[in-house]
Symmetry: C2
Subunit: 302 residues, 2 copies
């Protein structure tokens, strides 16, 4: 077995994931649990780290430890102030915040990023900066679908801007609490997705097209089984249209996603004439942290 070179920790709102990586970024061992930051009491972070990774820390006393994600938020271990775009990997690496994980040993927390669009409207992300760097592209867009989807612009390998969309949260909320949810029948009919994609390009906007879905069911134009996929297509289509409008789209388009979500965004992009490739979240995370370790100008070790 090759020697471990980094303990990479993805510490999010609901999940804790730790990876022991070798110098090539290969995962040697890993652990995951439900110790997301919401489940950790104030001051309880060092203890959770020891419970989940104590054996590795003891076995490898000089191993660098880097954490990313909501662990660096106001409700996390400690708040790592957002760094502004544009940001190189080195900028982010040198802005990492050191925290004592016991007996004077230090770990680093990757800061999130903030940006402002042309109108001055602010945006933030935390955790996605690491994934986006891990996608490894020189020029293009990295799309991270989710509750709050992110579109990250990469220029010459640096993060030069990004935009968030509440796509996942709108989907769950509208389906859970409006007349659209009442009309939904299961199992879902996936053909509704393409209808939603098409509706996203019609005039009237989201609130009009969402009502049209309701009316289509009422008048027998569309089955209740198509309602949820329609809403998904409408929201993802709207996100893709807006994202392509905001971004420089002459480079690569990389999706960091899995399964149905990856398929849905690939289909939505293809419907707009855009080819994309999909990378798995875990691989981008470990590659992103390995890249930050390499980029750091200071020595990161225990």
């Amino acid at each position: 077995m090759t020697a471990p070179a980094l303990l990479a920790i993805d510490w999010g709102t609901t999940r804790f994931r730790a990876y022991l990586l070798d110098s090539a970024g290969t995962v040697l061992e890993h652990v995951a649990s439900d110790d997301g930051i919401m489940a950790v009491k104030p001051g309880g972070f060092p203890a959770v780290l020891v419970i989940r990774c104590g054996m590795w820390l003891a076995r490898h006393p000089d191993l660098p430890v880097i954490m990313a994600g909501m662990v660096g938020s106001r409700n996390g271990w400690v708040e790592a102030t957002y760094r502004q775009t544009p940001a190189t990997a080195r900028d982010l690496a040198d802005a990492m915040l050191a925290v004592d994980i016991g007996n004077g040993r230090m770990a680093r927390i990757v800061p999130g990023l903030s940006t402002r669009d042309a109108t001055g409207a602010p945006d933030v992300m935390r955790g996605e900066e690491t994934l986006a760097l891990g996608a490894g592209i020189e020029n293009g867009i990295v799309i991270l679908p989710g509750t709050h989807s992110k579109w990250v612009q990469i220029t010459n390998g640096d993060i030069t801007g990004f935009a968030s969309f509440m796509t996942g949260e709108f989907y769950a909320t509208l389906l859970g609490h409006t007349i659209l949810g009442k009309l939904r029948e299961e199992p879902d009919d996936p053909s509704g997705f393409d209808r939603g994609l098409a509706a996203a390009q019609r005039s009237g906007g989201l609130t009009h097209q969402a009502f049209a879905a309701r009316t289509s069911v009422l008048l027998g134009d569309m089955s209740g089984h198509a309602v949820a996929p329609f809403l998904s297509g409408l929201l993802i289509g709207s996100e893709v249209d807006a994202g392509l409008g905001l971004a420089q789209t002459d480079g690569e388009i990389v999706l960091i996603a899995e399964g149905d979500i990856a398929a849905a965004y690939t289909r939505a992009l293809a419907a707009r004439g855009k080819r994309s490739c999909t990378l798995a979240t875990e691989g981008c995370f470990t590659a992103g942290l390995a890249r930050l370790l390499d980029a750091s100008t200071s020595t990161i070790k225990a």
Copy 2:
């Protein structure tokens, strides 16, 4: 006292309102209760009508009775099939559905309207057709804000098209069930409304601008007190921009609304350079039904 000429009933989802009108459309007497159609058991509609209006019906055995609203829906007294646009007042009057209200006496139910936009997407309304006719304009747009706002196009006095927007339902749902609601502080700071109106015209769409509101609070750019008014401005601004894009806007713009809602839409329209006038719902309803009574080519009486 002048003689009653019409018993006009606005029977909606949650409220029952009846007006005894003279031949000039003036309200002589009125009654209101919580006997909306959701509170009435199947088959229970004639009994509710007698409880609320029995004295009037007995006193005026020849009085025409016309009902509008959700009473004509699938879950109402009886389903009055949607009439398609374009529709004149006479079209709607002659399509009224007669129902027996006891001892062979008949009342009429105004049908709702359906329409299709240029792409074939359907839309429906029920109750708003009567209000829109009651606005009494020859050419222009009648806007009926609400849970499902309606923009009704009037051409030469006829209803030639309309569009719905889930503005009110989106507002309540997003504020009630997303991170935006968690950030809201009360009392509301009304200055957020204009910020939302401005955001509606920026790129990125609803899901992006809604997230920007959250970020603005997080970064201290905006107070939590401005969140709800911001969301209101964002949604109403989006509706107004889309509505003005769909409609012929060279005629009058009439709002049928009250209080804060009327003020919000007036402000949103003014921000887009459009003057509007506001009419009260009750007056439009009674005027609309009086107009339908006049327009009918058949004799409407008991």
